[in-house]
Symmetry: C2
Subunit: 196 residues, 2 copies
């Protein structure tokens, strides 16, 4: 197997890239400017060492604390809980939300062996105690697992004085944040309601 | 702009990869095993220095002469002319053709400034003189440019004793080899007819 086949094989392991797309990408890399390949290759090699998780919220960041947590312009009384760091980017792109975030790193999925210990929940309880949060918006995906995780979080925080809300299902049920349109996300944020 | 944005921006320059796919790939790279990123990054950086063009046919190859030109099991009386090296891979995958290849590196496109000098034609004429070729199969894409290029090649080789054929249009007209199914390619090869 030569270098080209190996490259195609590895490219086709990327999400959404099949064998034909991988081969098309590989051939375009053969014809691209040498500088582009150097840059892209190096970026791929270094991305994991450059990007860390924010020590406060779990968002991806190049520094110890991410831009959102470090900002003075955010509403620190609002905390939005999301499944994955990429959900933050999607929500930020709507420009509707000005509070802070907290990344769970997944959802409860007992069948896959993901229980409360696997999620970033201890730090959430800690933040709720230390920070001056007035409302927690649970923005996990509107799936079975996302909904149960929302209920679970509402349950463990029910003794605090904080208002706990769930985004409205403006997103299609069974869907995923990653592919939602901005309008649906905005509507979901506006239509949020008390969970308990 | 941080490393993640830069990576997403460069990934979205690849063919068939939009902004959302690029972002999805970037996040998956953040979560993939470190070894995979090292390997893929290095492969992308090194692909151009590892893969050269075969000095006989113009196919991509890791050695001076590609596997097909160097093989003793090919029918050296047959020469198939293709536009791009990736067309060879597609034709080879049908298993129908056992002759040699010649890569033009494009098609005649006067409006884009691609004339006969820009194509790998001098070497073709040389091969026709030196090698014992009995039939030339012109397998450029069945597009306007591919058809005119086929006629042009037939014209410059018309004084030789070689039979010059064009693959049958089993492929949909206006289409592209890269996306054709194997059956259509096989049928096109079997249905080839004399051009002049």
């Amino acid at each position: 197997m030569d270098s080209l086949d190996l490259l195609i094989k590895n490219l086709s392991k990327l999400p959404g890239v099949g064998k034909k797309s991988a081969s098309r990408i590989a051939y375009s890399l053969l014809n691209s400017s040498m500088g582009f390949n150097e840059t892209l290759g190096l970026e791929i090699m270094e991305i994991q060492s450059k990007i860390k998780k924010c020590s406060i919220c779990g968002n991806y960041s190049e520094s110890e604390i991410c831009e959102i947590c470090a900002s003075f312009n955010r509403d620190k009384s609002l905390l939005c809980i999301v499944e994955q760091p990429q959900d933050i980017q999607t929500i930020e792109s709507t420009g509707d939300y000005r509070g802070l975030f907290h990344v769970l790193g997944g959802v409860l999925a007992p069948l896959d062996g993901i229980g409360p210990e696997e999620l970033n929940l201890l730090k959430l309880v800690e933040r709720v105690k230390k920070e001056n949060i007035q409302e927690i918006i649970i923005a996990t995906n509107p799936t079975l697992e996302g909904d149960s995780t929302a209920l679970y979080i509402a349950h463990i925080l029910k003794d605090s004085d904080i208002s706990i809300t769930r985004i409205a299902s403006g997103l299609p049920v069974g869907g995923d944040f990653e592919y939602a349109d901005k309008l649906s996300i905005s509507r979901a944020f506006r239509g949020r309601r008390e969970l308990i």
